[in-house]
Amino acid sequence: MSKGFASNYRMVCLAAGVGLCFGGVALRLVDLHVWQRGELLKFVEQARRTFIVVNARRGNILDRNGEILATSRPLMEVGLDPSMLRPEDEARWPQLARLLGITVADIRAAAARRTNDALEDDERATKPVHWAKLADGIDDTVYEGGKNGREGILGLKIRGVYGNRVYRRFYPYNSLASHLIGFLGGDGAAAAGVERYMDFYLHGENGWRESERNGLKKELAQFQTRDVPPIDGYNVKLTIDMYVQHLIEAELQRIADLYQPLKATIIVSDAQTGALLGLANYPTFNLNEFNKAPIDALRNCAVTDVFEPGSTFKIVAISGALNDRLVTPNSAFDVGSGEVDYHGRHLRLPRDDHPFDTLTVAGIISHSSNRGAAQLAMLMGDQRFYAYTRAFGFGQKTGFPFGGEIEGILAAPKDWDSLTITRMPMGQSVAATPLQVHYAMAAIADGGILLRPQLFSEVRDERDNIVFHFDEVPRRRVIEPETAATMARLLEGVATPDGTAPEAAIPHFEVAGKTGTSNKVVDGKYSDRHHVASFVGFFPATRPRVVISVIVDDADAHCPSGVAYGHAVAAPSFKRLGEELIQYLDIKPVTDLPLNRFAFAGGPR
C-alpha cells in the first residue's frame, strides 16, 4: 500500500499539532479549574447568586366587632431610569403624566437627574441614577390597564418607565380614631399610636430566599438553596367600637361647628370593665394624609393636656367624706357664710354661683356648691383629702399605653398654701387630663374600683387564633361599693330640674353626672371670659353601662351667654350621645329596683 500524503513524518507532525492543541486546551482547563478556581467561582457566584427578601404583610388593626381600622394595601410606586429613556417616547409623556396625576415638567425633572448630585460622597455622587420616583400609590388598574381595554402605564410602552409593587398602610375611615390608631412614617416605620405601641405584633417577620438567576436576570427557581417564608403580622383587636367612635366624632364636629372651641375631647367607656368604646379629640386629622396635618392636631389631648377640672372634681371630697362615714347624704352644712375657721386659721370660702344658706350633702352635689365641697374637704383634713385625690387617680398616670401621657399637677399637702384646702375641692389648684377625670368618675360607676384604661382586646394570628387576650386591670379600690352606690344616687340629682344640668337628663333613664365650668388661667390670672366646660357622667345610675365625658375648651366666644358653662355646652352632648348609645348598645332602663338591692347595684363586685 502506498503511503501517499500520510507519510510517517507528516503523520507525526499532525499528531504533534493536534496533541499540542489538546495540551493547550488541557493546560487552560487546569488553569481555569485549578489555579484560578477560587477567583472565578467568586465572580460566578456574584453574577448568578441572588438574595431575595420576601416582605411580610403587616397585620390589621380591628375594632371590637372586627371592622378594619387599618390595613395594608398593595399599590404601585412608579419611577423611571433616566439612562434608558428614548427620545421617541417623549411624545407619550403627557399621557403618562395624566395617568400618574403629575405634570410633564415633573417627568422632565426626574429624567434630567442623571447622577446623585445631592450625595456628599464623591464616589456615590457620580454614580448614575437608575431609579427616580415619579409617583406612588398608583392602582394596579392604572399601571397595568383596565380589563375594559383602558390603557395603562404599561400599555404606553415607554422604555425606562416601570413600577415596583409595595404595600402601603391604608386607613379606610380616614380620620376616625386617628389619635388612637396612629400611623406609619414615610419610611414605613411605626410612628405613633397603636401602630407604634403594637408594632411588635403588627410588623411580622420578613422572609428571604437564596437562589440563582440567568443572564436575563430571571430567577432560576430550580437553584433555590434556602427559602425562609415570611411570617405575616398579627391582627390587633381594639376595644374601640367603630360606630360609637363615629358617634363621638360626629358630636365633636357638631360642637366645633356650634362653638368653635380651642379643643374638645369626648371619651366613652364601658362602666364595668373600663374598656374604651371611643375616644376622640378636636381638632383631628386624616390618617391617610397625616403629613399635611398641623402638629397640634396630631396630639392626643385626652392624655397630653391638662385642665383644671372644676366642679367635676367635687366627687372626690364628697365621696371621701361619705366613705369615711364623716357625713351622710342628709348631713347639712352652712354654706351661707363665706368665712370659716380651720386649724386655727381664719379662711375665706370661695363664692357660690347660686347662694344658699344651708345645703345637705345631696344639695351640695346637685347645686355644685363650692363652699359645701370645701367644708367637706376640711372635715377630712389635708392628708385624708389628698389621699382620696391620689386614690381617684389624680396626679398619676392612668396607664394609657401611648401618646405621651402626663401625670397632671397635684401638689402634696406640705406644698399647699392656706387657701388650697378651700380651692382644691372645687377643682382649682389641681390640673388633670380628660382621661384622669373620666376614670375618676368611672370608679364610682364601677362600684368604687379604679380601673386602668383598656384599649386592647385581643391579638390574633392570620388564622384567627387568639395569641394574646387582654383583660380588665383594676388598679385599686377607692371607695366602698355602698359609698359608690350612694354617690351614684346623689349624682342623679345633678341631671334633674333642680340640679345644675337638667340638659343631661334622658327620659326614663337614671343619669348620674357632674358638670364642670372652670376658669382658665390667662396671663397668670383666672379669666372670666375663657372657660373649660365639662360634663362627666354615667347611666343607668343603679346599673351603669357606659361612662361618658364631654370636655370643651374655650367655647365662650360663641356661647349665647358669653360664658361656656358645662350644663350649656357639654351636657346636651352627653344627652345626645347617651340617647344614641341606648339604641346602639341596647341599654335598658332600670325600673323599680328594690331599695334593699340598691346598695349592691353600683357594680358587680
Partner: protein, 129 residues
C-alpha cells in the same frame, strides 16, 4: 464458545463496553431529564406562588376597598345622594314595654299553644314505635 480465545475476549469487552456506554448514557440522559423536570416543576411552583401572591394582593385590595366603602362618612354621603332618607332611630321614637316581647309575639302567632289547657304526657312501656 471458547472464552479464552483473544477474539472472544475482545468481543466480550466490546459488548460490555457498549453495555456500559448505554447504561451510563441512559443514566446521564435520565439525570438531564430529571433536572429538566425539576426545573419545570420549580418554575411552575414559582409561578403558582406568584399567582397566590397576586390573588392575596387582590384580596387585600378588595378588603381595603370594602372597608372604605362601609365607612360611616361614605354611607352618609350615599344616603344623601341616593335620597334614601335612612336615619338611626331616635329616643323619642322608641317606647319601652314592661312585658317580654318575645313571649308576647309567640303567643300571638300560636295562641293555641299558649292558651290551651296543658295535657299530661303519659309514657307507656312497650308503646308503638
Amino acid at each position: 464458545m471458547d472464552k479464552s480465545a483473544s477474539n472472544a475476549f475482545i468481543n466480550q469487552l466490546v459488548a460490555y463496553t457498549l453495555g456500559m456506554l448505554l447504561f451510563t448514557g441512559s443514566i446521564g440522559l435520565g439525570t438531564v431529564w430529571l433536572r429538566y423536570e425539576i426545573s419545570v416543576v420549580a418554575n411552575r411552583n414559582q409561578s403558582l406562588q406568584a399567582r397566590i401572591a397576586q390573588v392575596q394582593r387582590e384580596l387585600d385590595d378588595c378588603i381595603a376597598e370594602k372597608a372604605a366603602a362601609q365607612s360611616p362618612d361614605n354611607l352618609i354621603r350615599l344616603n344623601s345622594t341616593m335620597r334614601l332618607g335612612l336615619d338611626i332611630p331616635r329616643q323619642e321614637q322608641v317606647g319601652d314595654v314592661p312585658i317580654d316581647v318575645d313571649q308576647w309575639l309567640a303567643s300571638r302567632l300560636n295562641p293555641e299553644l299558649f292558651t290551651a289547657e296543658l295535657q299530661p304526657v303519659v309514657l307507656r312501656r312497650g308503646g308503638s314505635r
